[in-house]
């Protein structure tokens, strides 16, 4: 299968998801509001006891992204399953990995949109000392890993009785190393360290992404087949 053909099919699925979302804006708005609420609650929770709120800022940022991302991941597959679209996708004459990458890219895009809106709000509330472009890179890498495993697990979760509840139970333990690396690097960058100084954490982040994206696309077929 040639690369262009593959990409075109993947982008067709992404296109479908984006158009569907643009019509209702349901998922994006709920993700955004939820992220906002999480940040505000954390702000309150820590302001009262923690002397230096800037210490917890990286953790708060990534927890916010995680919770909002969870919403997006859940809805992407539940909408498909409820309307019978999943069967339609499976019947299409494409390799199952196309579906995986299409869904994964869609999730990545939605999460990135929400993150782009949340980041300025986070800046206003927590007022970190400086901004680094490398921060964008770290956020993208972290979101990539999260969307990579998350897409696989949301496909698993949608076939269970518990549905939305199952996804965080499955996903949170697995992404622990991703969270550790992302928070560590984000904290370092906000403190003024250079990205090159945190090379081993960056390697862990990239390694996690590569390993779990590979495993996810290899096992996706077994998860969705009837």
């Amino acid at each position: 299968m040639n690369l262009i053909g593959f990409l075109r099919k993947v982008l067709a699925i992404v296109h479908k998801d984006i158009i569907a979302e643009l019509r209702t804006k349901e998922m994006l708005s709920s993700m955004f509001v939820f992220a906002l609420l999480v940040i505000v609650i954390f702000n309150f929770a820590f302001e009262l006891r923690v002397a230096n709120v800037k210490q917890v800022a990286p953790g708060v940022l990534w927890v916010t992204f995680t919770f909002a991302g969870m919403l997006g991941l859940n809805r992407s597959f539940i909408l498909e399953k409820d309307k019978g679209c999943l069967e339609g996708l499976l019947l299409a004459p494409v390799d199952r990995t196309v579906i995986y990458f299409g869904k994964m890219l869609g999730n990545l895009i939605f999460m990135s949109v929400v993150e782009a809106i949340v980041l300025p709000i986070f800046w206003v509330l927590f007022n970190p000392p400086l901004f680094s472009l490398a921060l964008i890179l770290v956020i993208i890498l972290g979101t990539l890993g999260f969307a990579g495993v998350g897409t696989l697990f949301s496909a698993i979760a949608v076939h269970t009785r518990a549905r939305e509840v199952m996804l965080p139970i499955l996903l949170f333990p697995i992404v622990v190393p991703l969270m550790i690396a992302a928070v560590k690097i984000t904290g370092g960058l906000l403190d003024g360290q250079l990205l090159s100084a945190m090379r081993n954490w960056l390697n862990l982040l990239v390694g996690f992404d590569v390993i779990f994206l590979t495993v996810s696309y290899m096992t996706f077929d077994y998860v969705v087949e009837e």
């Binding site: 495993v149 076939h159 269970t160 009785r161 199952m166 499955l170 333990p173 550790i180 862990l204």
Partner: protein, 236 residues
């Protein structure tokens, strides 16, 4: 039911029971107290003879599930799924034992029940969560074939995550002194401790095998009962 297999099983169970009693004696009486510790910490050190073998069995059990998951997806066959499920159940019990005996040892020795910065603790905690989620997943899927497939995928992804978690927390860097077991200053200095430890390791592995055989057989019987029930129902 083949009787020779049954008899062999009885013998194995008997040997294991004896081994457990002997292991208790070795760990609590035979092994000398740790020379470099005092008071509560010295007594608590004996937990190590059960704590480390439990951790070993937990990892072994989840490795078995990992392999069984791959085998199920690749070749199919219910027996792989049964093996995976049984191994996870037993592995989770042993991992629970690790998580309970660990803090019991940690309080007298480090002064705190738990730290997150030690790679071993975090890895075991995440391991426990992953395999608890495995059992929850199995409970929420009705269709047998789908359940087996989904569980196999989780078993594979979960096990691959474990070394990554370990590496991540280790780089985090602030490991409190989890005692060095092998090497100088550790077990090799005291042959009696080494004997007790190795014997406990063997006993726990034997215990795992015995429980696994029992559980697999139990699952086979349950499946047989289900099959007979549906036959009766279809005749009515």
């Amino acid at each position: 039911m083949n009787t020779r297999g049954f008899a062999a099983n009885r013998v194995l169970n008997g040997i294991t029971a004896l081994a457990v009693v002997l292991a208790l004696y070795l760990a609590l009486v035979y092994a000398p107290p740790a020379a470099n510790l005092v008071g509560a910490a010295q007594i608590a050190q004996r937990i190590f003879y059960f704590h480390v073998p439990s951790a070993w069995v937990g990892f072994l059990a989840f490795f078995v599930t990992f392999v069984a998951g791959i085998a199920y997806l690749w070749k199919g066959g219910r027996q792989w799924d049964v093996l995976a499920l049984s191994s996870v159940e037993i592995g989770l019990v042993f991992t629970t034992m690790v998580v309970t005996t660990g803090p019991l040892w940690a309080k007298p020795t480090w002064g705190v029940w738990w730290v997150w910065s030690d790679p071993k603790l975090s890895t075991v905690a995440v391991l426990w969560l992953i395999y608890f989620a495995y059992l929850m997943l199995r409970n929420t899927v009705e269709d047998e074939a789908r359940r087996a497939r989904l569980a196999a995928v989780l078993g594979i992804v979960g096990f691959l995550d474990v070394p990554i978690v370990f590496g991540a927390v280790r780089w985090w860097g602030q490991s409190v002194a989890h005692p060095i077991v092998f090497g100088t200053g550790g077990l090799s200095d005291s042959p009696r401790m080494l004997t007790a430890f190795l014997f406990c390791l063997g006993t726990f592995t034997l215990l795992y095998v015995v429980l696994l055989i029992r559980r697999v057989r139990l699952e086979g019987m349950r499946h047989e009962v289900e099959r007979l029930k549906s036959r009766i129902a279809s005749h009515e």
